[in-house]
Symmetry: C2
């Protein structure tokens, strides 16, 4: 969800720069998590504890239309590691039902360890989610993962479409 | 979760009998869902829409100690079909962290279709959850399922212990 269909990083960076009077850009985050570059370190995760943080995220470009196309040939589930931020449940659910109403509620999964998912493919921006996953992991490009080479990679939703519908 | 480690039925029946001046018992529910026997029919599901309904459910007898014993030999996940009742997320999460603190948050799953779970076994009181599940389904006895014969059955947590640790 985050970093694949929901753009959490733009909002996170904007809030951080505002509150800490910093000017970090996506270029500064190549190969780094925001918490590694932020003046406040791990405390930058506090924004995720705000129950409203995930409610108004911008939809990743092309994700809605490509998901709908994929649904014609594949069974699509949306999984999100929500257990790290339990206050986010309601906002994430509302965001999904607003922006991805083609996904039935039965196909939404809030989990922790994504190794519990029984699926052929997992598109994710965090490669650690592939560790216990039994299907094929596909890395969705995000600044923090640009130097990783171990997994198949898609840079955007057009490339997802090309991979699965091409 | 519900009907396996959390006793939702006792509370549901008590609230229904109070509000509809009825005297339904577990004996009346043999082979039936409450919504089939309730004067109000499917409207009896309204109790699940109360965000607090799932917060104070009684823990099923023996479940805590057997889950802990199982964890010595198995990786245990708790999965619940929470997507049907999105207002229940917070209460279910709080209940789990209160009563099953041996389960790491990473092993909690809120889902819909349990076919998404990658596990060897699924202990559940609703046999429809086994339909898309690729592992072995084990039916946990509840009044509504007593006449079902298609799946392996456990009547209580002592029988779960005997099956997996015996």
């Amino acid at each position: 969800m985050d970093g694949v269909i929901a753009d959490h990083l733009n909002k996170h960076l904007t809030l951080y720069n505002r509150d800490y009077e910093d000017q970090l850009t996506f270029a500064d985050l190549q190969g780094k998590k925001l918490r590694e570059m932020a003046k406040c370190g791990i405390a930058v995760q506090k924004y995720y504890q705000d129950p409203t943080f995930f409610r108004d995220l911008v939809v990743m470009e092309g994700s809605q239309s490509v998901v709908k196309q994929l649904q014609e040939n594949y069974e699509i589930f949306i999984a999100t590691a929500a257990m790290e931020f339990p206050l986010s449940f309601q906002a994430k659910y509302e965001w999904l039902t607003e922006h991805f109403d083609s996904i039935p509620k039965s196909n939404i999964v809030f989990c922790g360890d994504k190794g519990i998912l029984h699926a052929d493919y997992l598109i994710d921006d965090n490669s650690y989610n592939f560790k216990n996953f039994k299907g094929k992991g596909i890395l969705f490009t995000s600044p923090h993962n640009v130097y990783e080479t171990e997994y198949a990679r898609v840079n955007n939703w057009q490339e997802v479409a090309a991979m699965f519908l091409g």
